[in-house]
């Protein structure tokens, strides 16, 4: 996803024979191609199915498996994924949000939730409902709460958008009871709008300038646009992404899934129609 050292250039791809993998495969293919990465295959079914069988079941896998690393199988699928990502310092994990039983508050299944909680690297969570259609990154929605830490965290996503030639829609959601972040250097919606004809363009420029400079100034060929929505962040992000036919939503996350935490992330994961890239805020 970015100009990273060679040892990090792997993408972890959990592989099984369920229907969810049909939806994950096109996303994984695109991510691996854009990042010029090596796939790191983690078989999550026990006992592992021979690769030849998998190739027959998923013809798209053939090319990927040519240069893939095969991670050792483990008793617990989540552990296998996490360890593979940690040991090969992977760029990211691409996996399905769920198969079968979904947790009520995140919409994820047990494996995806455990991987998310551990999150040794960014995770692309793919809704199985998207089906087997090819995946192209044309429009990326990048919600930002205006804090420097969030802006820094999304550097890989901006790099990805740059590689894909995608357009980047930076989205700030604000509302009646929005509490301004305490982090120094945060920029949220302006409290005073003396003259909207001047204030809004200046504010949008400033917001984008900060995101760009804090996240590393990656060139974005598809253009970068500042957008704002009013209301609760979770529903507004989903609504905005649908309205703009987003191919990817990028969320940075502090890594806490305790009750009352991560309300935005929970809502987006439950309702997003497109893949969601979750970036740990501490990730380098």
């Amino acid at each position: 996803m970015s100009a990273v050292p060679v040892e990090k250039n792997t993408v972890v791809l959990p592989l099984d024979t369920t229907a969810r993998f049909v939806a994950v495969l096109p996303v994984a293919e695109t991510v691996i191609r854009l990042a010029q990465a090596t796939p790191c295959i983690v078989q999550t079914e026990m006992p592992p199915i021979p690769l030849s069988e998998l190739k027959n079941k998923f013809p798209g896998l053939k090319t990927l498996l040519e240069h893939a690393i095969i991670a050792p199988p483990r008793e617990r699928p989540a552990e296998a994924i996490i360890r593979a990502a940690a040991e090969s310092h992977s760029l990211c994990i691409v996996m399905a949000m769920h198969e079968g039983q979904r947790k009520a508050d995140t919409g994820l299944d047990g494996i995806a939730e455990e991987v998310l909680c551990e999150m040794p690297c960014p995770v692309v969570l793919v809704p199985p409902e998207r089906g087997a259609a090819p995946w192209r990154v044309r429009q990326v929605v990048l919600p930002q709460d205006g804090t420097p830490v969030t802006a820094r965290a999304v550097a890989p996503a901006i790099a990805l958008a740059g590689c894909a030639g995608a357009g980047l829609l930076v989205l700030h959601v604000s509302g009646a009871h929005a509490v301004p972040p305490r982090e120094p250097g945060s920029l949220t919606a302006p409290r005073y709008v003396d003259q909207p004809q001047h204030e809004w363009p200046a504010w949008a420029r400033e917001f984008l300038d900060r995101v760009r400079s804090l996240s590393g100034e990656y060139p974005v060929k598809g253009g970068i646009q500042m957008c704002m929505a009013r209301g609760e962040p979770g529903p507004e992000i989903v609504r905005f992404a649908r309205g703009h036919r987003a191919d990817l939503i990028v969320l940075s996350w502090r890594g806490e899934l305790a009750p009352r935490c991560a309300r935005t992330l929970r809502h987006v994961l439950q309702h997003a129609l497109c893949p969601v890239l979750v970036l740990p805020e501490s990730h380098k």
Partner: protein, 791 residues
């Protein structure tokens, strides 16, 4: 670090560094990249002719170095839609690269042990200090300063002093002045299409640039000097088209002082027909004097301005600094020597609002200049005089007589309000202020009269002021309609509450217009009685009918003001009382502006008020209304006002203070003080809020001190908050310099120089105060009761 002596005070105290007094310092410790644009605005140096943002000399990923020259506007040809002129960005004269062992010093890459930027308000100097641990192990102490000379407004100055603890080899210091790259939303001066210079060898020190569409030429002469323990080291000079680079390569020895000074001189074709020659000659003269003298004379000039302007708040350090910060930027915003420019909404500290001039100048900033530095006030009003032709044209274009000033203007006075705004939620909002917000003409008239009353500047009122009053009155006489009720109504306007557009009989507009009409009649009588020749001349030049002043008086008397004597309330505009009431308290205090939350349509159908509107009337005409009228209207409108504009909190502070509600006044005063300094709104990045800063000064002087103009002096209705031990400030009234000291229960006024005047405290007996004398009052029992206790 041992200081290299620089004399920054008249008293002879020598040091090279910012003042030690924390009440005169605004500081930023460390480095937070995200805040860079805000720091650039807040710590900007400016003198009214030129202003430079406080960008890091070596740059950072977020640096946006910009220097603005007052009056140098250009139009960005690549802006989509209908581009409007804006202040052009001059080349970055502050750029300085320090390479140590081939590695460039950059703050974002670390290596610094500590880092501090200090705005020395007292001396008008931006300081930067840090210790840097060089990659090769050397420890370097750096102290740098930057200023826009208040003593010699064409001059900018930068100085960097380096001292090392141990030897640091391989130092490369590179100083350049270059146009830089275009940033979105900024138009830059360009060296393209500039005629070649004719100043021979001196061209080595010269950059010549031009605007693209307005034909202004800017000449920038620069020279850098490096001295090691006082001995000068010649630079290696690189000349490239449109820029000049001076560089030095050296090894730093322990204990020695390395001092880099850069002088920059700017002239434009607005100032002279030969900007290049004057810039070169001026620089040549400066190079003959010690650079420390440039700092010294600048610091002394600031010292003089502070004697006329400083507001002391004893008992609240944070507010003390905030008020000084306000005065600092106001002093640096105006140039008394140029009456063809005015102060834009962000002064010369940022590119937001494009350097456009609004009513902000006359109603929010001007009182500061009127009562502390009348020449600056005069120059700003003369800008309105010189732009009368454009105001006449605008009135004519819209089918009216007289002068209708532009809602937004640049040097020409023409209307430059953008036609629409696109908010980040995608809503396209037509901007109608340029078409309907007409109160600006009366606002300017108000400022003219206030200046005249406070200064007694006869030359101004004869030459310029009266003409503005007559032409604006003429506009109002053509703007309204005498309706069947026999009253004069003004329809389809926007008042200060810009959430409600196209309203009829806006109280603020109507009362301002009424006052404008009355005042013009008074001015006509004044001229006819005192300067009959000038009166005849003006009648002839303006084709004033002999009955026009009487018509103005008549229309003023018939003006519908929406005042209901039963309730004591002004209706903000016709139909306002019938609109939906919304409880603002239900929405968070730090939320989006309420019009964004509710949507434009619902906001327009509600009683939500953007900013002081009727309350602004109370502020401007305090003495015209009964105390209970002021109280009733403030209590009615204050809970309905969202303060969606930075202009609003200070006016609410002023009015609440006059009402004696010091708790509410202090709450609003703090809110106003925090607009730039607390970094709670994010939009200081585009420049400081000059009107809010002017409002802060007014909240002190008109609010807490309760200043009012008497026919032959000044009155005060003090409401010094109990938490303030003392409030002190100077004023100038008709040439007489006064010092005022207010405490919660005492007041003292001293006439320092000039003529005697009448002073009244509260409702107490007026006292005649002679120059060199002071009088003291003590608060008595009851509202407004003050007794003279000594003189």
């Amino acid at each position: 670090m041992k200081a290299h002596p620089v004399n920054t005070t008249q008293s002879g105290v020598c040091y090279f560094g910012p003042t030690d007094d924390p009440l005169w310092r605004i500081e930023e410790e460390g480095f937070n990249l995200a805040r860079e644009h805000e720091i650039e605005s807040l710590f900007a140096v400016s003198n009214g002719y030129v202003g430079s943002r406080a960008s890091l000399a070596e740059g950072s990923p977020l640096s946006n170095p910009a220097t603005f020259i007052a009056g140098v506007y250009d139009t960005h040809s690549s802006t989509p839609g209908d581009p409007v002129p804006e202040l052009a960005v001059a080349p970055d004269w502050m750029q300085l690269t320090l390479l140590i062992g081939g590695r460039e010093f950059r703050l974002e890459e670390g290596g610094y042990l500590w880092h501090r930027r200090t705005l020395d308000l007292r001396h008008g100097i931006l300081w930067r200090e840090f210790d840097y641990s060089a990659p090769n192990g050397g420890l370097i102490h750096v102290r740098a300063c930057r200023l826009a000379s208040l003593a010699d407004r064409h001059v900018l100055f930068q100085c960097v002093q380096i001292k090392a603890e141990n030897q640091v080899p391989g130092i490369h210091l590179r100083a350049s002045t270059e146009p830089g790259t275009e940033h979105p939303g900024q138009v830059r001066l360009t060296s393209e299409s500039c005629p070649p210079s004719d100043v021979g060898d001196d061209a080595a020190n010269l950059l010549e640039l031009c605007t693209r569409s307005t034909g202004i030429k800017v000449a920038i002469a620069t020279a850098g000097r490096l001295r090691i323990d006082g001995a000068s080291i010649p630079p290696k000079v690189e000349r490239l088209p449109g820029r000049r680079i001076e560089s030095w390569e050296l090894d730093i020895e322990a204990g020695k002082i390395y001092r880099f000074d850069r002088l920059v001189v700017i002239y434009t074709s607005r100032d002279t027909e030969q900007p290049t020659t004057l810039a070169v000659q001026h620089l040549r003269r400066l190079l003959r004097v010690d650079p420390d003298d440039v700092i010294g004379v600048h610091a002394r000039t600031w010292d003089e301005r502070w004697r006329e302007s400083d507001v002391e708040i004893e008992g609240d350090e944070s507010l003390q600094r905030a008020v000084r910060f306000a005065c600092y930027h106001l002093i640096g915003a105006a140039n008394p020597e140029d009456e063809r420019v005015s102060v834009g909404a962000r002064a010369l500290t940022g590119s937001a609002y494009k350097g456009h001039v609004f009513w902000d100048t006359e109603l929010f900033m001007l009182p500061f200049y009127i009562f502390t530095h009348p020449p600056s006030a005069r120059a700003l009003l003369m800008y309105r005089y010189h732009t009368l032709p454009a105001a006449r044209k605008k009135a004519q274009r819209l089918g009216y007589r007289g002068a209708l000033y532009a809602w937004e203007s640049t040097d020409t006075g023409e209307e430059v309000t953008p036609g629409y705004a696109i908010s980040p939620d995608g809503e396209i909002k037509p901007i109608l202020n340029g078409v309907w917000e007409h109160h600006i003409s009366a606002d300017i008239a108000y400022a003219v009269w206030q200046y005249w009353q406070a200064t007694g500047d006869e030359g101004f009122i004869q030459r310029a002021g009266a003409e503005i009053l007559f032409e604006t009155a003429r506009f109002w006489a053509s703007r309204g309609l005498l309706e069947e009720d026999g009253r004069y109504h003004i329809q389809e306007v926007i008042g200060p509450d810009e959430y409600h557009e196209g309203v009829d009989d806006n109280a603020f507009t109507n009362v301002m217009a009424q006052w404008n009409l009355e005042c013009a009649q008074d001015a006509a009588r004044l001229l006819a009685e005192r300067w009959p020749e000038r009166w005849r001349e003006l009648m002839h030049d303006l084709e004033l009918g002999t009955d026009e002043p009487e018509t103005w008086r008549d229309l003023a008397q018939r003006m519908y003001t929406s005042f209901d004597p039963q309730t004591g309330l002004f209706e903000q505009f016709k139909g306002y009382f019938g609109l939906e009431q919304i409880d603002i308290a239900e929405y968070g205090p730090d939320a989006l502006p309420l019009d964004m939350i509710l949507g434009r349509e619902r906001t327009q159908l509600s009683q939500i008020v953007k900013q002081a509107d009727v309350v602004m009337l109370l502020h401007l005409f305090w003495d015209r209304f009964r105390p209970e009228t002021c109280e009733a209207n403030f209590r009615y409108y204050e809970p309905r006002t969202t303060h969606g504009s930075s202009l609003s909190p200070s006016i609410h502070a002023a009015v609440a203070a006059r009402l004696g509600d010091t708790d509410t006044a202090l709450r609003y005063f703090r809110q106003a003080a925090e607009i730039d300094l607390a970094n709670n709104m994010g939009n200081a990045a585009g420049g400081v809020h000059a009107a809010a800063l002017g409002g802060l000064w007014q909240a002190v002087v008109f609010g807490f001190a309760g200043l009012r103009l008497l026919p032959d002096g000044l009155g005060f209705a003090p409401h010094c908050p109990p938490v303030w031990r003392a409030l002190r400030f100077p004023l100038i009234w008709r040439g007489t310099r006064l010092r005022i000291e207010l405490r919660p229960d005492t007041a003292e006024v001293a006439a320092v120089s000039g003529d005697s005047l009448t002073v009244q405290i509260g409702d107490g007996e007026p006292v005649r105060l002679a120059p060199g004398r002071r009088t003291r009052w003590k608060r008595g029992e009851g509202v407004g009761v003050w007794k003279e206790v000594s003189s």
